[in-house]
Symmetry: C2
Subunit: 135 residues, 2 copies
DNA sequence: CGGCATCCTCTAGGATACTG
DNA sequence: CAGTATCCTAGAGGATGCCG
């Protein structure tokens, strides 16, 4: 297994080792963008600018609290831009920063691939469940 | 906002809409592979075959329970191949299926990009915290 | 409208002990 | 070694109410 670790470093560089170590600072950001609502917020915002409640309607199933929380984390990480007009009623617009657009692009590729492979996934599940039932 | 949704569909096709809807069957698989331990297990296994405890040591911080649970979900989704020898002591080897290798490749791209952008993220955080403190 | 704050629930996830 | 089963806690996440 030492060989495998060494091989991995040769193939891919240092990155793999970093991520698998727990003190890695990127784990936190990674979890922000790959969290349940983080992914969906980024994908939704890749469509364009949204106001808070419009975004909430777009990302179906998200609660007010979780959306606010998610957006704050993404804003702090520099993925989301928040533009607030202090009027009555208030108007707050959310959009992606260049960094956020890159993140969304990566996530988009993953989703697109997965959607295409879902038939394979469903087949694998059926086969798996069948062999379990048969045993 | 209707225009934005329509625009998104034109640009990217049906996929965005599917994912943002909650009944979407791919959300579940998506969460398996982008979950905290799902990502790390896939990345680790992209290095090669691992036995259970070796994998657990490789993915630092994962508990026995969560690793077993994660691997079962990924196996059922057809991402991970499990090869068990019924000997004493038992020997179980885990590796990626072609599907799993593709998933790992996408995740790897995301991680690699994020690692490279971490300085920007840290800067954004510092700026954000500073403006909050100043206000 | 866009939020905090509060309360409550439920599950992800860790620790421990046991089994084949 | 590779799990399963049990117990328990911490945090995710929803519902509600209030404020600028």
């Amino acid at each position: 297994m030492e060989d495998q670790a060494a091989l991995a470093r040769d193939d891919h560089g240092q990155i793999i080792f970093d991520v698998l170590a727990q003190a890695c600072p990127s784990r936190e950001t990674m979890e922000h963008i790959t969290s349940r609502w983080g992914i969906l917020a980024l994908i939704a915002l890749s469509e364009g600018t949204y106001r808070f409640n419009a975004l909430r309607r777009r990302v179906s199933g998200v609660s007010e609290k979780m959306l606010a929380q998610t957006l704050q984390a993404l804003e702090r990480d520099g993925m989301v831009h928040r533009e607030a007009q202090v009027t009555i009623p208030p108007k707050v617009e959310y959009s992606l920063t260049p960094l956020g657009r890159e993140a969304a692009r990566h996530l988009y590729g993953l989703i697109e691939w997965l959607e295409g492979e879902m038939p394979s996934v469903m087949d694998a599940r059926a086969a798996h469940d069948r062999s379990r039932a048969g045993a």
